[in-house]
Symmetry: C2
Subunit: 244 residues, 2 copies
């Protein structure tokens, strides 16, 4: 059985941010599996089958990929950013739990540049001190838990990065999170709304918490909230290495 499965991160969009390790896996693959816009980033070639699927079917997608690897195919499951951060690596692990046979397959997770770090790099160094990464989607956890995490993180002055801040199906979540931040943080707290980082549609906007509005975020946006010491320097935003 020569099949294998890689769960690979394509980075935020720019090809120059795809690691050589991921490019090599894609060059060897017989099958690429993933959410439609990510599979679209893979150049078609002879001998490579592209399997694009809709969002919200992560577990089915993971099982289909494992089945192909078990049948001897060389399969790359693609995620945008890093596959281990709110992406396909955990879904594949979940699928493995149900099928002990699959656990003996040749499976590797290949890291990528995750959205918050690409966004932070464009902005300067807003995550240069202790920080949290929080998925604001409440598909898989209660909204109250998300709010409790934001409150706790702000309470001990973590910087924060929010993934999936807002979607059509839950337009009110991000407004509630802004409300929590306004209870705990000062109005001048800096926030960065980074949309479609490293793509032609890139838009990066730094505002204060007082100025932030829900429509600054959508599903292609990662939101960074500075800590109490985060400040502007020239065209950049950064969080000092020392605590206040």
């Amino acid at each position: 059985m020569n099949g294998w499965l890689c769960i690979a991160g394509l980075g935020p969009g720019d090809e120059q941010l795809i690691t050589p390790e991921v490019s090599a896996a894609l060059a060897d693959a017989t099958d690429v599996v993933g959410y439609i816009p990510y599979v679209r980033r893979i150049a078609p070639r002879e001998g490579l089958t592209l399997h694009a699927s809709d969002n919200r079917v992560e577990l089915d997608r993971a099982r289909a990929a494992l089945q192909m690897a078990a049948a001897g195919r060389k399969v790359v499951v693609v995620s945008s950013g890093d596959p281990g951060v709110f992406a396909m690596a955990a879904a594949v692990m979940e699928a493995l739990e149900g099928e002990p046979e699959w656990q003996r397959l040749n499976i590797r997770v290949l890291p990528g540049i995750t959205a918050m770090l690409a966004a932070a790099a464009k902005a300067g160094a807003p995550l240069g001190h202790d920080f949290c990464a929080i998925n604001l989607s409440d598909n898989l956890k209660p909204a109250a838990l998300i709010e409790a995490r934001v409150r706790a993180a702000a309470g001990v002055d973590f910087a924060m990065a929010f993934y999936n801040p807002r979607s059509a199906s839950r337009p009110e979540t991000f407004g509630r999170i802004l409300g929590v931040l306004r209870e705990v943080c000062e109005p001048g707290r800096l926030m960065i709304f980074a949309r479609a980082v490293s793509t032609p549609e890139e838009h990066i906007q730094t505002v204060t918490l007082a100025e932030a509005t829900t429509d600054m975020a959508d599903m292609r946006t990662v939101v960074i909230v500075g800590n109490s010491a985060t400040r502007r320097v020239g065209p950049f935003v950064y969080t000092p290495r020392s605590a206040v």
Copy 2:
């Protein structure tokens, strides 16, 4: 003035994890500046001057790099991992604060694969749910703040990644952090000690909190602490996407 400055992430060690963007900047550079072991990773070539300096002089190093860029040199400041995560990007921003003239220079931060995400990929998907990144070095912040952050993060069930868990100059810090974890988390909580990830010295060890000892960590180790749902599946460790 054609000088420029890039603050670039070399990833955790393996050349296959260096982005093409960073490789291109290194190929164009006239000067590379950084901590000795990171500069050692850059192949010497004609026209490139390597400036290696000791640790704990980050601000001097940043100023020297900015001075060279201001003088028209093409300078890459190298960090291991990602330059925005407990690395040189924040130090360069800090140096910029003192010299408004430097703020007009052509400066870019080039992201890299940070240690916790490389370690997570090797282990499976332990950071597949909300998580924090905490620098355990108390050079730049009070030990009490570090402990408060660990306690708060564990209290709302974040997974955690610890950078710089232990050094010769503060052997007791990590023991105190283990103590905090033992107060808040169950003894079976999974922890991953990932040393020198993606290098020939790579060593990755998964243990329970009850089994963890301070000597499992050193300055080349990143420590990942799972959340309450983190579990083993086959050879992997992962944190489910859903909250319990």
